[in-house]
């Protein structure tokens, strides 16, 4: 296995939007994501997980350290890193198919090559029959499926997901988690998944990076050694490895929250 994403000594400060005070968001982050791996990042709110993702996406310039994908240093946004955002970021003025095919359109892939590819991803995320619909005609879960398909269809080297299921209801959420697991098996994509849900982090991650409260640092890496094929919510609720990993992550995160409260 080779490392897809390498982050070394990444440090970042930014001025607070309202107070103007300097916020120390990330402190000397070192991490590696292997090819085909799904890693989850979990931590208390404001720990810099979203800052990290924005830096990886190229949407935020970073101060110190090195970040590279496939050995190429990150300078600005690029199609090698696909992002699924927390809010509904698919374009309201494009239909499901035109949203999913947007990345290929940008790359000037001709229509006859684009169409079968787009249809394959429509089917993969279960949006068959909704191809011509506009986002406002879809449910919240469907919108996020469309967003995942859009990112996958552009075929990035790594897919970055920023709390993508945070805005959907609990039932839809566990369905989407199982579907993402299925998609990860089907596409063998390298995925970094940011969440504040401990359940989600333990269910999806091959490894889970637990962040400390501000300044964001990687506190512990928890390995969750369960084959993807076995991961579904019916079995996981009785799986000792899963339950142990979840309990450990929860404990680590709660320590951080407690620290913040005591301060």
């Amino acid at each position: 296995m080779s490392a897809k994403l390498i982050v070394q000594g990444l440090t970042h400060h930014y001025p607070d939007e309202y107070t103007g005070e300097t916020v120390h968001a990330l402190d000397a982050i070192d991490l590696k994501v292997e090819e085909g791996e799904l890693v989850t990042v979990v931590g208390p709110s404001g720990c810099g997980k979203s800052t990290l993702l924005n830096i990886l996406a190229g949407l935020l310039p970073y101060e110190a350290g090195a970040v590279s994908v496939d050995g190429v240093p990150i300078r600005g946004p690029g199609s090698d890193r696909g992002v699924v955002f927390q809010e509904h970021a698919i374009l309201p003025w494009r239909t499901v198919t035109r949203n999913i095919g947007h990345g290929l359109e940008i790359k000037n892939v001709p229509k006859h090559v684009r169409e079968p590819k787009v249809q394959a991803f429509v089917d993969l995320v279960g949006l068959t029959g909704f191809e011509g619909k506009y986002p406002h005609e879809l449910s919240g879960g469907m919108k996020q499926r469309c967003a995942v398909a859009r990112t996958l269809c552009a075929d990035p080297a790594i897919m970055l997901m920023d709390e993508p299921f945070a805005a959907v209801d609990a039932q839809t959420r566990i369905t989407l988690q199982e579907e993402l697991n299925r998609i990860a098996i089907a596409t063998k994509k390298t995925i970094m998944f940011i969440t504040h849900s401990v359940d989600e982090a333990a269910f999806l991650g091959d490894r889970c990076f637990v962040f400390s409260a501000r300044p964001g640092k990687i506190k512990t890496i928890v390995d969750i050694d369960i084959p993807r094929e076995r991961r579904n919510w019916n079995d996981m609720n009785a799986d000792s490895v899963f339950l142990a990993a979840r309990a450990r992550i929860l404990k680590l995160v709660r320590e951080e929250v407690a620290d913040v409260v005591e301060e």
Partner: protein, 308 residues
Amino acid sequence: MGAGAEMSIQSTGGPSVHSSDAANFFQRAAIAVQRRIGRQRIRAFLLGSIPFVAILSIWFLNDIFVWRQTYEIPSMKAVVKSFFHLQRNCPGIIGLLTMDRACGMTNHIFDSISRMLLAAVIGLPVGIGLGVLAGMNRTISKLVEPIAIFFNSISGIAWIPLAIVWFGIGWMTTLFIILNTVVWLMFFNAMLGVRSIAKVYEQSVATMGGSRWNIITDVYLPGAMPSIMTGLRMSMGFGWRALIAAEMIGGDSGLGFMIFSAAAEFRIELVFLGVILISLIWMATDRFLFVPLERWTVERWGLVWKPS
């Protein structure tokens, strides 16, 4: 369809077995019309017609009772006649389209509309282009906004004396007046539209490898459509008003010119005709251009809510 119509007559408690064939026919026709056009639209049309019918009724009654003299309020007949009077020497449809000198009425209409079209073709892209640039770039907005506020405060009509000195009477003057109205209104609306787009749309296109140009065409322009539609209605509406005013003073043809010269000759029925035509042309533009455009874009995309 036929069978369905009959079924619905029965289910809605329609005509009894005793009703005549004629009544049956009318009821059927009414149901067919409702099916074809839709109840809501018929209702909206009827409600909107009430004020017009009221005004027309009063006008019609004035023809009979003559509360006001015909030099104040002309008869309906005189107004209709005045349209054909100005067209009386027009050599048919060819002369109408080639804007033969004899086709007085339609020439005025065509002149006004083509000035408006020319102003739209020049003014709208300039206004939208500047607005989008200012909406996406702070430096440009700081450069352009103050001067836009300055010019936007001047009503189109206030330019007329200067425009006449600069361009004389005629086309250039009227065009200049409309452009002054159209460009700045469009600019402010397009700028506001771009600024109100959620940042995440732009970011999502950027992370798919999209260029600045991709972001302009795929995010800024469609995303700003609700504001651009408002700008379009406002700038064209105010532009049309400014045009009529400009033609009155600085024009040598067009509906505004027609009204003004008719008033000078005390031909009140021509003034009435001009005013009615100005409104009818605007209503038709709104109904057959702006409303479909809105349906095709912002309503289809779910960016605005249709009133129910």
